[in-house]
């Protein structure tokens, strides 16, 4: 349980664009599986293939960003399907924290559940950080959950946000909620016994 996450440091990979949905993060055909193992190599599979076909390189294929562990995205990242396969694919590719303007609710919850902090920054700062990572891909970025800031090793620093609940979960190591939920099981049973629809509306 004590798996506290105070900060995540590493090189960053920028993936630009608003409304990048989970179908793009991991296309549905890779969901025909009964484990998450092996999803990492398929992260952004179609976007990467398309970029290659156009003679370009998707950031996930760009050797300058190989080994990066912080994903820099824009607005409404991870919208669409609730598939946890999306953050799982990113995590298995090597991503350990995400910095974006906003996220879909479910995607964000999934990130928390698997121990990947996903923090919010302003539109302007998200683009600044992406520009910076592109100009200087060797910089080390730090997502600091205690001080709520994103820093780069060149001295750049911007404030970031994370809701208090998830923040406390990371800082205390309780981001995997299951342990606490199990402790509450007797209270769950007591609550269930009072619900009208479980008592025949008597």
């Amino acid at each position: 349980m004590p798996n506290r996450i105070l900060e995540v440091s590493g090189r960053a990979v920028p993936v630009r664009g608003n409304d990048i949905d989970t179908d793009r993060i991991i296309p549905a055909r890779f969901l025909r599986c009964v484990t998450f193992d092996g999803l990492g190599q398929h992260a952004f599979a179609d976007d990467r293939a398309q970029r290659r076909a156009q003679g370009g390189l998707h950031p996930f294929d760009d050797p300058r960003f190989a080994g990066a562990s912080i994903l820099l995205a824009n607005a409404n990242f991870g919208c669409g399907s609730s598939r946890e396969h999306a953050p799982q694919a990113l995590a298995r590719w090597g991503i350990r924290a995400i910095v974006a303007v906003s996220y879909s609710e479910i995607f964000h919850g999934n990130c928390v559940a698997i121990g990947v902090p996903a923090v919010r920054v302003s539109q302007l700062d998200s683009e600044r950080l992406q520009d910076l990572a592109e100009r200087a891909p060797t910089l080390t970025f730090t997502v600091d959950l205690e001080r709520l800031e994103v820093r780069a090793s060149d001295g750049t620093s911007v404030p970031c946000q994370l809701a208090e609940g998830p923040r406390r979960q990371f800082l205390s190591g309780s981001w995997d909620a299951l342990g606490e939920l199990l402790e509450g099981l007797p209270a769950v049973r007591a609550r269930a016994a009072q619900l009208p629809y479980l008592r025949g509306f008597a």
Partner: protein, 484 residues
Amino acid sequence: MKHQFMSQRTLYDKVWERHAVRTLPSGQTQLFIGLHLIHEVTSPQAFAWLRERGLRVAFPERTLATVDHIVPTDDQSRPYRDPLAEEMLQAIERNCREFGIRLYQPGSGKQGVVHIIAPEQGLTQPGMTIACGDSHTATHGAFGAIAFGIGTSQVRDVLATQSLALSRLKVRRIEVRGALARGVTAKDLILHILRVLTAKGGVGYAYEFAGEAIHRLSMEERMTVCNMAIEGGARCGYVNPDAITYDYLRGREHAPQGEAFARAVQDWSAIASDPDAAYDDRRVFDAGALEPMITWGISPDQGIGVSEPVPPPEAFPEHERAGVAEAYAYMGVRPGQRLLGLPIDVAFIGSCTNGRLSDLRAAAEVVRRHGGRVKPGVKAFIVPGSEAVKRAAEAEGLHELFLAHGFEWRAAGCSMCLAMNPDRLVGRQLAISTSNRNFKGRQGSPEGRTILASPPMVALAALEGAVSDVRQLLHSSSHAEPHP
């Protein structure tokens, strides 16, 4: 501060308070989940975790399983041709057997898209909390339930504890006045709402759909509206229960029976939002002003009235224009272009958005009035959302009508809503689809293109071979009265 006075609560507040178990150290609430739905794609890893930790399912009778995403809708003989699909089906069979969970399989008469079968069997009821490892769980909100999609770690949490760690959402009341014109459907209404509020406008919110136009809708239409709340970024959408809700539920297999039903109706009526409830935000729409909608881009909020031109980049905020340019390029459309008459390759009617009996009837009405056959070169297929929908449609002879006019008639499943089964687009094919997502690659080809529309609009496009305005057909052909 809201939530303070007992008389000012929304349905969301009341359902939340009723199901709150305790406050967790993180500050989140442990919330009891009244109904848990699972399918083959997002559950196997959850069961694997339970096994690893030696956990049992806490309330197996509160979980219902089915298979929908991977099942082929043509040849359903086992083993499936796709060995990965077969493996997934065997996994859910084994998991349900081992953990004592009810599973509705193809051939059981009760299988179908998870969001279609739970309502039709009366499992979905007002005042419940409902969770499923699927974002379109929002559909069940049509009954006045708080229903939302979850990830696989949370599927594990619900299996092990029948509860989740959650934070409360804000509530936005979306009031729709007036009534929809003929030819304009619930699908058009939600596409319009998405266009105005955008794909991310609902992040952090539950959407309460209210007002005269919403309460005139049938339950099936309300499900179409709530289904796509998620496309607007809202975690869930709901409609306060009313007489239409109760009439729908009465007599269904898992609805309260006999005297319990009358007591249930009392409880359900009390769960609805109070007239003076406090909301975090309010928006008002006019249903009468709408025309049939189509999407032109790669996000469900990129919709237009069928007679409108594709909007220019200037219609969008500056920081979104790169994405808009990408949408034009991907779809092969130009700003200012009208899509009426644009040839289509594939027409798909089905999915948890529009795969219910009333959707198939609406498509059938268009086919009857039109009288022609599916345009040569167009692949058109109709996929009932559940085995029960299929049976009911066949009892009315709808399948014979569709087949006679050149449509394919399939078995129940998600089909071409997403690319996990054999039904897929090829290359740059352009589909017009009653499903809910027009994302790049969603329908199975990395370059495949999707126009979202209502069942009548899709049926007409199949017959004409091109995007068409269903109002012209409905207004002109008074000679072809619907039969039987």
